[in-house]
């Protein structure tokens, strides 16, 4: 019995070993190296790796710009994920009833997800160009005032959120559609026999059963949104002023414009910790519901 267990353990490690080793090399080492940089005095001007402690974290966290970026990141992530979920769920529910040309709808709706964020940003940059862009030209044609979509500090973040929702909702649609397709029919049949209205069925059956898939969709999208960088880089460079400066962009600027790899890594690590914390909390909630 003992030999059998030991053999199984060995076999398990044998199968998992190559994958774990690859993960350790490809992901573990860079993360450890970044951690070491964040605790060091390494800059692009002085690239020696001398460990100095948590000073870089203190420096970063004592700056109002960092807290501004963190606040914007939280607002941006919450708004985009909420928007993606609501729109994604609505479209997934509608697609559930579609029978004819279902594949075509899915293909069209998946297109934005297949596009690179840089391409998406460039397309929207042209569409929203204040003077010559098609959106403002259409508004002008209708006799409406032209809108400064990305140059107005009150509007720029909202515009970015809209563009992000436009691109990322496809992924939520796919995930929720798969979740909806796998729901059992029995509870619905029972509810119909009991005379439950469609809205009641949605609220008391669909949503609770869909919760695990929905939570996974939310976690994945939250991770994605916290890391958003490309859209900001192409569309606003964090401006006007600091109104769209997300934490990822703050970290990039610190590392490559400020030449302070150590402080940039520290900012990136704070971002990683936040994402990690959110992921752990979500999975904890998910497991607790299961149990």
């Amino acid at each position: 019995m003992i030999t059998k267990t030991t053999d199984m353990l060995r076999a398990g490690w044998g199968f998992a070993g190559p994958g774990l080793t690859m993960l350790a090399i490809v992901m573990g080492l860079p993360v450890l190296y970044a951690a070491a940089i964040s605790l060091s005095s390494m800059t692009l001007i002085h690239p020696e790796l001398n460990i100095t402690g948590f000073g870089n974290f203190v420096t970063i966290m004592s700056e109002p710009l960092f807290w501004n970026s963190l606040g914007i990141t939280l607002r941006y992530s919450a708004a985009t994920v909420l928007g993606e979920f609501v729109v994604g769920l609505g479209i997934a529910l509608m697609l559930r009833r579609v029978i004819v040309m279902r594949g075509v709808y899915f293909a069209v709706l998946t297109l934005p997800m297949a596009m690179s964020p840089v391409a998406v940003a460039l397309i929207w940059r042209m569409l929203l160009q204040p003077n010559l862009g098609i959106v403002n030209q259409t508004l002008a044609g209708l006799g409406l005032p032209m809108i400064d979509w990305l140059g107005n500090s009150d509007l720029a973040l909202k515009t970015m959120i809209f563009i992000d929702i436009w691109q990322q909702t496809s992924f939520v649609i796919l995930l929720l559609s798969a979740g909806l397709a796998s729901l059992p029919r029995d509870p619905y049949e029972a509810a119909e026999v009991d005379g439950a209205a469609p809205l009641q069925q949605f609220w008391y059956i669909t949503l609770p059963l869909l919760r695990p898939v929905a939570m996974i969709a939310v976690v994945i999208q939250l991770i994605n949104e916290f890391r958003t960088y490309d859209l900001i880089y192409i569309l606003t460079k964090g401006g006007p002023g600091i109104s769209t400066e997300l934490l990822s962009f703050f970290a990039y600027k610190r590392a490559f414009q400020g030449l302070a790899l150590n402080e940039g890594s520290a900012a990136a690590f704070i971002l990683l910790l936040i994402v990690l914390l959110i992921t752990v909390v979500f999975f904890f909630l998910l497991e607790r519901r299961k149990s």
Partner: protein
Amino acid sequence: MTKTFFPVTLGLAVSLVGGTALADEVTLHALMEDVPETNIIEKMLPEFERETGIKVEFEKVGYGDMHDKLVAQLVGGQSYYNLLEVDFLWAGEFPAAGWLEDLKPYAEKTGFDMSAFIPSTMDLMGNTKDTMPLVPMYNYSMGLIYRTDLLNAPDLKAAYKSETGQELEPPKTLEAYVRVAKFMKAHGKVNGAAMQGQKGDPNAMEFSNYLFSAGGDYLDVDGKVVLASKAGETALRLYKDAINNAAQTGALSATLDDTMRLMCAGEAFSMVTYWWMLPQIDNAESCPNVAGKVALSVMPGGHGESGGWGWGIAKNVPAEEKDAAWKFITWVQSTDVAVARAMEGHAPVRADVYVNSDVLAKYAFYKDAMAVVESGKSFPIFTYSAQYEDTLGTQVSLAASGDVTVTDALQAAASGLTDLMNK
């Protein structure tokens, strides 16, 4: 035996000779910005290779990718890029990090005459009488491009006279320029100024022109920060005024491309931009609405922002590659090659090219361009220039959008400069 001995010996001899030849062959690798200047030089490379036997390979990328790619090579054991194209904004950082060869001894050893280079272009590269980290490559100083047809339109002239009591003419001060630009927006059926207000490089460069035009500066002769001066305040106040009352909708998110498109479409009276944009706008094929109706001048007030690229040689490459790189630099910046480049649209850094009769016959406006280059003042060049662009750009953007006052933004920009210079 003889039958096998001969081919083997021949093979050995050929491989020996071939091996020596390969060892002697030096290839220069340069990371270049993907712009017309690079293409002009690239077309001439076969000529250099024929003359010297040195092969040159250009890897062309966008500006945004250059700094990080270069730095990754320069901090390593041996750089892949031995010939360097360096923006003036990095002319403080690269020498401070010890990544560049001092080219002064090379110039002295080979007798390369640096006196033909326009002094402002030399200063821009951080060159002093003791060291020369970079040789100027091409220039992108900024001036004012404006519409002559609008300025000379009789109805607009009359309206301006009755509104202001002054003649409508090319502005001589920054205040006059903003006044004319606002007037054009109100009465000329065009935007008064096509402005690149996106924070960072676009608005920092644009604001610098306003600052120098208003008589302000970033540093005094002793290197003390003097940005938060009366002139600085005037410059930022007028910049804000221009963004809000003379510029196009969306100026705060606009970049160079946006302003270029607007000017080209005939929808703007003026733009503060790089002088070599003039031939692109004054082009009947690409910009038929404005071709023949535009002129270039030095920024009102007498000074605009200087800008330029330089050639450098990486320190962490073998000596023979350094020598080959210097040979290339002296060739590409020689009078003959610089004139040949200018005939294709190059923005020269040598005074003798601007007054060359062939060049002037083809591009008469090079006379005005030289004035722009000569009068240009530099953005502060130090280790953290690139970061300062962002710091300044943020404050200018905040002031222009009305999120902070002009005085507070200027104070923050000045203290940001002091902090970075003391870092």
